[in-house]
Symmetry: C2
Subunit: 91 residues, 2 copies
């Protein structure tokens, strides 16, 4: 099974990730996962919807998963929500 | 088709919506949708994951949808990402 491209949406501006996704789609990547944690989850949704608009709707949503990851040192571990948004290119 | 409960996650603290969901689940609601827009999308994921933890994992995710809504007056309309997270009670 070919390794799926994963784009981690972090603290940079949304435009950085939008460009990254558009570049991958232009290079022919068929499927990729956009992943984000905590307060960056909203940005991940903004990125996918912006890519959808910019490609004239030429992406489809696959599975969207929400779960939790433990972050921080042992004594101060806490759960952070994570989203994984799978998108498929229709280009 | 019975009208599905929808919880709109907005500007209030996450705890407000977590309590709202737990109350509905305790009252026997089987399925509900947690909906949020823009920067509140992260809070929606936090709410569902907190409810999952607090119920000992007794909720399951159904369909998760991401799309855009137009907001604002005609001349200043803009697209805002929206998430709808369907959860099913396993209580």
């Amino acid at each position: 099974m070919s390794q799926q491209e994963v784009i981690y949406v972090g603290e940079k501006p949304a435009s950085t990730y939008i460009l990254e996704v558009l570049t991958l789609l232009k290079k022919g990547t068929r499927k990729l996962v956009i992943k984000a944690r905590g307060h960056n989850i909203s940005k991940a949704a903004q990125v996918t919807e912006s890519v959808k608009r910019m490609t004239g709707g030429k992406i489809a949503y696959g599975q969207i998963k929400i779960y939790s990851e433990e972050v921080g040192e042992e004594t101060e571990e806490k759960s952070v929500p994570v989203i994984e948004i799978e998108i498929t290119s229709l280009l």
